[in-house]
Every structure is written in C-alpha cells, then in structure tokens.
C-alpha cells in the first residue's frame, strides 16, 4: 500500500507535483498515466525518498521510505534502466544492492534467472541492449521480494516478447497480493495490464478510478449502424433525439441511444440493418480526451493542417 497525502514538490514557484492525494492498493496493477512533464517520475522519486517533498507525504505501508528498516524488502523500483555502471557485471550490480540489505548471493542469482539473464550474470552491462537493461533493472526491483513494486516505463524499448513478459510479470505480482504501480505511455499496453488507473496532469490528480469506469466516463459511447436506407434511418434517429454523424464507408455514428434502442427503432420502421455495433472508445481516446487540457507542449494540429 502506497499512500500519498497532499504531496507537493515545488522548484521555486513552479509546482511539479501539486497536492496529490491517492492510494495505491495491493492486489491490483495500478497504471500511472499522464503526459510528459505531468510529474509521474517526480512522484515516484518522492515515494522512494530520492526527492524531498516541499510539503505533504508519501508513505509505503505507513512509513516514509527513509524510515524503512530494510528498504529493498519493502519496496522495489525500476526508475531508469540506463542507471547501471557499464563496467560492473550484472551479478555485481545486484550484489552491491543485495549486500546492503542483508540479501545473499543466492537470491541475486535467483532473480537473474527469473528475468532470464542467468547466462549473462558475469557480463558487463555496457554491451547490453535496452531490453536486457530493463530486465536487469526489474531483477533489482524484485531482489528483496518486496510487497510494493514501482516500475517507471518498464516496457520502453522492449520487443513484443519482452512487453508480454512484463505484462505477465506485473499481473502475477499483483495476483500474489503485491502493490504494483506502473507508468507507461503505451495505452494499448496499459489497457491490457492495469486494473486501476491514476491519471495526473500538470502535477494534479485528474482521475483515480478503475480502468473500465475510466474509459466509460471519459469517452462518448457511440453506436455504429450500417443500413442500405441510411438517409431515412438518420432522420428517424434525429427525430427520436439522437445525434447522428456520418462514419466511415457510409456508416452512421449514433450518440444518445443504445444499440438496442437503435435496433428497435429500425425494426419498428422495417429498415434492414447490415451492422449494429456499440462503439467502445479505447483507453487511448479516453486518456487523450481527459488530459487534453494538461498537455505541456500541445501540437496545434488544426493549425498545421489548415
């Protein structure tokens, strides 16, 4: 369990993290989303005691990181996969963390096996691919078998097999009852991995909700209809109070009516339907709609096109 209470980090007058209050609960994967510069990394760094909050608090299991007696046994983190000494072997990288927390060589070898790096334990990470460094970073996070795991962009630079591996790993960590906080920019991946979402923008909380509820609340629900009699159906739908816009390949996109209502209306007027699909917005659409106002460097698409 991670608890943030009015967590704030200011550099001069600029608040990078501004009064964040939320809990990250055990047993589920919590996705941590926000545009670049939203304060995700700063928040994670404050949870880990690397940055000092200007005010407010971040605690892990009720204690500040600095007060954890054996920190790696309480929380493991991957913040930056590149943060390895290029000339320190993979095994030594883990050992210098393990020893400091009373963890032995055997466990270090075990986690190297767990992430699939057992064969390169004696090699220096200077020549590792980004994917291998990500795996080494995850091995370090799991070293103390911690109940709380923080992963900042763990799938960056991974191939599809690696992405799938992270997904399975994070899901199983949560299934074991651990608290998992995961940040990523890959929305499709987040949609597959996270149960719960915390979305921030400009350092402030935008949403703290379940994945499905988030998608439902943020995006319009539309119904796609195909019919040879599109013109008549469209006017009937409008008369019944729905909004209709043209979709791709002659389809109609209907808002304000459920799929069943559209079907009933068509049936009542003996209009043949070729397709009737409730259109579920993607997490990406929901996310973009919600964070649209808080993007730091928004590209003006409209201006660019015209």
């Amino acid at each position: 369990m991670i608890e943030l209470r009015q967590l704030t980090k200011k550099y001069g007058e600029v608040a990078v993290v501004d009064g964040l209050t939320f809990d990250v609960r055990p047993g589920v994967v919590t996705g941590f989303l926000g545009p670049n510069g939203a304060g995700k990394s700063s928040t994670m760094r404050m949870i880990l005691g690397l940055d000092r909050p200007t005010s407010g608090s971040a605690t892990i299991g009720g204690r500040r990181h600095a007060d954890l007696p054996v920190p790696l046994r309480e929380v493991g983190a991957l913040l930056d996969a590149h943060a390895v000494h290029p000339r320190r072997t993979a095994a030594d990288h883990l050992l210098c963390l393990a020893y400091a927390n009373g963890i032995g060589r055997r466990r270090a070898e075990e986690v190297l096996g767990l992430v699939g790096l057992a064969d390169v334990a004696g090699r220096r990470p200077g020549g590792f691919s980004l994917g291998m460094k990500q795996r080494l970073g995850i091995a370090a996070a799991l070293l103390g078998d911690p109940p709380v795991v923080l992963l900042d962009e763990p799938v960056n630079g991974l191939d599809p097999e690696g992405i799938r591996w992270i997904r399975t790993l994070t899901r199983s960590l949560a299934a074991e009852g651990r608290t998992v906080l995961l940040s990523s920019h890959l929305m499709s991946e987040m949609a597959l991995t996270a149960d719960h979402l915390v979305v921030i923008g400009r350092g402030r909380l935008i949403a703290d909700t379940g994945l499905e509820a988030f998608v439902r609340s943020a995006a319009r629900q539309e119904v796609l209809v195909r019919t040879p009699d599109a013109r008549r159906l469209a006017s009937l739908l409008r008369e019944s109070g729905a909004a209709v816009r043209p979709g791709a390949k002659g389809a109609l996109m209907v808002t304000g009516m459920s799929g069943a209502e559209v079907g009933d209306l068509a049936g009542a007027h003996a209009i043949v339907l070729h397709e009737l699909t409730p259109w579920q917005a993607s997490l990406e659409e929901a996310y973009l709609e919600l964070t649209g106002d808080s993007v730091e460097f928004a590209a003006n698409l409209a201006g660019a096109v015209s």
């Binding site: 690397l50 990181h65 954890l68 000494h85 000339r87 210098c96 370090a140």
Partner: protein, 257 residues
C-alpha cells in the same frame, strides 16, 4: 540494514571501477619515479655543495617528497568512488537501497579510507628505496629503511594517504562531477608547491598551516622545530578532512539525489 552489509556493498562497487586501477598504477609509477628523481636532485646538491652543506645533508629529506604528488592520484581514487555513481546514474539506485545518507557516506568512506590507508606505506617504501638508491648510486650518503624515524614515517604515510583519500571523496560528494572534483582537489593539494609565489608571511603561513603541507609533516624523519610537529601537522589535515566530510554529509542529506 547493517554497517557490515553497507561496507560489503561499497566494496563491490569500489572494485568494479576501472579508473581505480589506473589511479593506483599511476600512484606506483609516481612514487617510484619521483622518488628516484628527488634522490638524484638531492645527490647533485650534495656533490656540488660546500662542506657545511654536506655536513647538514639529510638523506631522508628527498625520500618522501614524491608522496605529495602521489596524493593527487590518491585523492582521485576518493573522488571516483563517488562520481562514478553520479556519472553512471546509479546514485538513485544506491540511495533506494541505503536511504540513510550518513550511512552511505560512512560505508563509502570506510572502503576509501581503508584502501588508501593500506597503499600508503608500500608507496612510501617504494619512494624511499628508490631515492636512497639514487643517492647511493651518485656517491651521496644514504640510509636504510631501519634508520631511526623511517619506520614511523612509512606508517605515517599510510595515515596521510588515508586522509587524502577521504579528502577526495568529500570533494566527490560536494561537486558530483569527476572533472571538477579532481581539478579542485588537485589544485588545493599542490597549492603549497606554489607558496614561493606569495609574499613571505603568506608563504610561511601556507607552508605551516595549509592542510596538505601540514599533513606531509607526518613523514618528516627530522621534523626540526620551524614547522608543526608530525602529529600536530597530521591533526591539521585530519581536521580539514573532517570539516569537508561534514559538509559532504550535510549537502548529500539536503540535496535531492
């Protein structure tokens, strides 16, 4: 989380920094070659000197001068123990494993101090041996390592290099960058070598009280009475290093990693 665990952890880090080997090899070369060159210079002075000069000649005087130059490399060892972590970006990882910043500095300090303490006497012995060999080869008086005061000076050299290692480490924490920390550390170490550029009272003050000059008194075999006594001199260096370490801990505690 034990002090012993942190010490082991820091040792694993220390031994995997390749530049350390370069520094230590450089220290051996510097101790040997400068020991020999200082011996040669002293021999020439002896041979070209008057009877009075010859009577006052002290063969141990050139024996340990090389250590002031060795100190530059020893200080770099201390710097690199810290700046290699900042350069590779592993400092945040280290701090999440050891959140007690004082404990982290302490563990690193213990590894740096022990290593540099242990290399001091062999380096001093190397410099001593080659300087005496140079004197003997030129026909000037020379002494052996058992000569009164020499064993003490050899041990004192360990104290000196140990303190200089910690001195470098403190600059590493304060400046976080290898280049800056090594440059500033080196400049302040060799400042007494430029004392003659200053007005006489200032020069005299530097030779007496400047930490690196005062610290080098520990390996003076015939200390004389015009400068600090060996242990007092070492005390001045130790006090300066203690102040730097306190500043390093204070800054490291306050700063975001």
């Amino acid at each position: 989380m034990t002090a012993y665990g942190v010490l082991r952890s820091e040792w694993v880090k220390f031994r995997s920094i390749r530049a350390m080997l370069g520094c230590l090899a450089g220290a051996v070369v510097a101790a040997g070659s400068y020991g020999y060159l200082f011996g040669m210079t002293a021999a020439r002075e002896y041979l070209g000197g008057s009877a009075a000069d010859r009577a006052a000649f002290d063969p141990t005087e050139p024996a340990f001068r090389a250590l002031v130059l060795v100190a530059v490399l020893v200080s770099a060892v201390g710097v690199l123990a810290v700046t290699s972590e900042y350069a590779s970006g592993t400092m945040p990882v280290s701090v999440t494993a050891v959140p007690g910043r004082g404990l982290l500095v302490g563990g690193k300090g213990a590894v740096v101090a022990l290593t540099t303490l242990l290399i001091g006497p062999p380096l001093a012995l190397l410099s001593f041996t080659l300087s005496q060999a140079a004197l003997a080869a030129q026909g000037a008086p020379s002494v052996g390592p058992g000569y009164p005061g020499v064993p003490g000076a050899l041990l004192g050299a360990g104290l000196f290099t140990g303190l200089v290692g910690l001195y470098g480490m403190a600059f590493g924490f304060l400046l976080r960058r290898s280049a800056g920390a090594i440059s500033l550390g080196t400049f302040l170490l060799i400042l007494p070598g430029m004392a003659s550029l200053f007005p006489k009272p200032v020069a005299r003050w530097i030779m007496t009280w400047w930490p690196s000059a005062a610290g080098s008194r520990i390996f003076a075999v015939h200390p004389g009475t015009d400068l600090l006594a060996p242990l007092a001199g070492a005390g001045v260096l130790a006090a300066a290093v203690a102040v730097l370490l306190c500043a390093a801990v204070a800054v490291f505690r306050r700063r975001d990693v």
